[in-house]
Symmetry: C2
Amino acid sequence: MKSKLPLSVMEKLLKKAGAKRVSETAKTELSSHLEAKARAVSAKAIEFSTHAGRKTIKKEDINLVLEN
Amino acid sequence: MKSKLPLSVMEKLLKKAGAKRVSETAKTELSSHLEAKARAVSAKAIEFSTHAGRKTIKKEDINLVLEN
């Protein structure tokens, strides 16, 4: 599946970190990885919001995932 | 610092994971976290590419970071 995170942003982040040149596949790989991470965090955040009796995902749900 | 990862994409990912509603701060938080993760992966990938005698970051550098 095509990743939704822009490859142009991946390139900017890699270059900002000090990369001289970046291959297309490196950008794709980074994007896919971050998206997978986002999906995992999202799923847990939804679980935590449900547990708190809410239907809205809030900042504290995201933070609780990242702390655990 | 403003995150470069679009909040609209964060909302799509959270909704695709099953979220009914998503607060603005939740999107910002997720975006910041992913960007921090991207920076950390980028820094290590650059180190690995240098170690391999390259100036171009390749897919295998990213993968090596994620495997270690």
